[in-house]
Symmetry: C2
Subunit: 187 residues, 2 copies
């Protein structure tokens, strides 16, 4: 187990016009990201939404696969979705991590654009390995995390560059690549 937690945030994020919104939950985000989180030993995968109906939707999906018919159909899926904890805000998430491991996490946000204070994947990988700190890695939905959230973070993780100028990975793909870069065995 690593000392790394993850959050997928549905508020505050921005839409295509740069306006602050609360986004809707995407079913496959829950499945894909919890499966990646389980593969790389993430402690808890927090899904953050302030909307009651969206919380209800997540509960229904998670419950189907961890307690309902889905558990028998595909038990491996239950192992992944059991990592999910639903939170109203990022502040609640941080409090819960404090309860879980008695330390406040440093918050590391992801962003498709490079920022002045970005840290490299390699540096963050070393930090996770070396200093025994506790980190919360935050991903956004829709067109990405709102600036107010990015500016409050302890660190901004550099964006993934492929080998073209195209910079539009899905959050499902981006989170998988980032976990592999941070926690994957050397290959």
């Amino acid at each position: 187990m690593t000392n790394l937690y993850m959050a997928l945030t549905h508020y505050p994020v921005i839409n295509r016009n740069g306006e602050k919104i609360a986004s809707a939950v995407t079913n496959l985000d829950l499945h894909d990201i919890s499966r990646s989180a389980k593969t790389y030993g993430i402690k808890t995968f927090f899904v953050v939404t302030p909307l009651c109906d969206q919380k209800g939707l997540i509960e229904k999906i998670v419950s189907h696969w961890t307690k309902g018919a889905g558990l028998k159909y595909n038990p491996a899926r239950a192992e992944a979705l059991n990592l999910i904890s639903i939170e109203k805000t990022l502040e609640d998430t941080v409090e819960n991590i404090k309860k879980d491991c008695r330390r406040f996490p440093k918050i590391v946000v992801t962003c498709a654009k490079k920022k002045d204070n970005s840290i490299t994947m390699q540096r963050f990988r070393s930090m996770i390995k070396a200093d025994g700190g506790t980190y919360l890695l935050v991903f956004g939905t829709a067109w990405g995390l709102a600036d107010e959230l990015i500016s409050k973070a302890d660190y901004v993780l550099e964006p993934i560059r492929g080998n073209t100028g195209y910079n539009h990975l899905s959050v499902r793909s981006a989170s998988a690549i980032i976990l592999d870069r941070l926690l994957g065995r050397d290959f």
Copy 2:
């Protein structure tokens, strides 16, 4: 541009009981994998299905984002989905690559289980970089590619290991990680 092509295969694949089936197309497979393919400079992303109704569904989705209302809504998505070519069989796919670059590709299949003749990610990365060969990297849907397809391949790529024993990534996540390992810049 690399000399690497990709295929997502819906037949022959296996279901949870190990039986050979033709799987249904998943909308987000098309979006996520084409976005990853575009990020890493894949030449063509072949979506392989022998089923006419599924071919129609893929055409409808691709057309919406590359020619219809989706093009105006999100032009970056069109760039990705334009990489898609729909094929009936893997044999047709190979013929089309031959037409495109005048060489038959070596077929490299992915598999969640390690095989005796698996090649490592690092070796395949070196092969792509070094020898100027043409490769078709094949991913399966459902519970994975059927053995008859795996046994005919030139190479089997080793599976992704995270840092736990859990080995159930989605094809969207697995393909993103593999492209990053094969083609991503050193970080």
